[in-house]
Amino acid sequence: MSGHSTYEPKTGFERWLDSRLPILRFAQDTMVSFPTPKNLNYWWTFGGILAMMLGIQIVTGIILAMHYVPHVDYAFNSVERIMRDVNYGWLVRYTHANGASMFFLAVYVHMFRNLYYGSYKAPREVLWILGCIIYILMMGTAFFGYVLPWGQMSFHGAVVITNLIGAIPLVGPSITTWLWGGFAVDDPTLNRFFSLHYLLPFVIAGVVGLHIWALHVPGNNNPTGVEVKSKEDTVPFHPYYTVKDGFAISVFLILYASFVFFMPNVLGDAINYVQANPLQTPLHIVPEWYLLPFYAILRAVPNKLMGVVAMGGALITLFVLPWLDTSKVKSMRYRPTARLYFFIFILACLVLGVCGAHAPDDLVIPGFSGLQFLDANINSYVWLSRIGALYYFAYFYVITPLLGLTETPLPVPDSISTPVLSHPASAPTGAAASPEKRG
């Protein structure tokens, strides 16, 4: 999509088509000859994995929609009919349900890779923002989709999440009623959630198109964070990265298939196999694992409105990250101090996830009664999630800006090929700080 095309029509038909719809030129330039840094490691294969996951989710989703009935009286049973009577229905549904988890797993790896190698920095801010939009659309799609089987957790999860909107002053309750299409989550709600769940993946696919476009203008970042300087630094996307991505996809599929075939319900909640009952709430409401960190941030704040603001803020923060980071060095390979804070950040996200899975008053260390601090026990998950949430925001608003101004990064190589060509023999300059092997 950028630069000079290397496409040369070979046949008369190709010339004819090229002057009318240059689709073959487009395919050649974006998927075949696209110059890609030759030092991309396996963390870069998750883009391809994500594209595949989107495809799988759309195909299996369309199939499920052929059998699913979006009505409160039939939804649960129609899903069970898919599991029991539709030919290979179990395969399609488990692929779709576990696909959501795999999709999020891959997107988190993709995002953490981005943070580590500073891929969000200039000239890739728009690429990063489009990615954040995709991520939020994914969360919406996953939430709508989780409501559809109309189990206990589907229903009460929908109640809890839609009630969050009620926290908005003045108009909140009206918006909630509007969203429900009634005075509670009910048939109209289920119908519109089904409609939106069908719609959003195609919106995602559209934004993914923009995301790839925005990728192909500046080209890929790479583990050194040094921009491509010469043709020595790149290889054509095909066959080098088609085969590398293909291999990574195949390995990822092994993990995915293990869940689908041998532990299809491990990532779900058992109570969702009980049909929704508006009169009885399950003892413990938890979202799916991929939303737990944000759920923990929500509950860390004792005020309903402020909790929603904090949770929304955690997402909005991602959008402004390119302007919060003051460091000129992209890759944390050359920023040892930043690397340390980054790993603590991953830990904080995991801790938040664990907090989201537990009831707020549960004791973190069993048997240790702790002591009361302000409104809660110091040994409870409330306080742990507050520490996690505090670090989450501090990482973006304090650590990242200050570190760029104060730290002394290691020497950065002049070009991608410099450390690469001398590898693995005695490496000059910054390569010493990168013990990890690539590819």
């Binding site: 630069g3 000079h4 110059p35 059998h67 009577d85 290979y88 395969l91 500046p218 790149t234």
Partner: protein, 184 residues
């Protein structure tokens, strides 16, 4: 800056190895990739075939004593109407008389009912033209008349006039007892 490097990079085909083996591994990987797609294609196609609950309703039992002589009862079978007609001796005679008339889809009346049960005619009530449901007793032959495009069937359900190409279809059925049949 990437403008200058398009298509760059070492040629993957420069190799001192036996070219056959190299080709084999790429071809094998490619074929295996097609296998993944193919392996998933079948489940994704088969899911549109009738499901277990649909198939379970595919055969029904019917009590013939519910039909009065000279009348037909219409029951639903596999989503389509099933005609069960208790024919009068006159209707049977009319059908046999035309066994060797100039028929579009030649068939004897004998071949269209179970042996010794000439009075019971069991037919799928779907016009062989474009799928409408023919009306009982209509047309010149006292059989059925299709209201959509005027196909006329006789008392054996054979096509006599109009656009339909075939006789009304006889489903697979069998007598469980003197008065009970199982269809499908």
């Amino acid at each position: 800056m990437v403008d200058t490097v398009a298509g760059a990079g070492p040629d993957p085909h420069v190799s001192g190895d036996d070219p056959n083996r190299r080709d084999f591994i790429h071809i094998a990987a490619g074929v295996a990739a097609l296998g993944v797609v193919g392996g998933l294609a079948w489940p994704f196609i088969d899911q549109m075939n009738p499901a277990g609950d649909t198939l379970a309703l595919a055969s029904i039992e019917f009590d013939l004593s519910k039909v009065v002589q000279g009348q037909q009862v219409v029951v639903k079978w596999r989503g389509k109407p099933l005609f069960v007609r208790y024919r009068t001796p006159a209707e049977i005679a009319a059908a046999i008389k035309d066994d060797h008339a100039d028929l579009r889809d030649p068939q004897t009346d004998e071949a269209r009912h179970k042996p010794g049960k000439a009075q019971y005619l069991v037919l799928i009530g779907v016009c062989t033209h474009l799928g409408c449901v023919p009306t009982f007793g209509g047309g010149d032959y006292g059989g059925w008349l299709c209201p959509c495009h005027g196909s006329v069937y006789d008392t054996s359900g054979r096509i006599r006039r109009g656009p339909a190409p075939k006789n009304l279809e006889v489903p697979d059925y069998s007598f469980l007892s003197d008065t009970k049949i199982k269809v499908g």
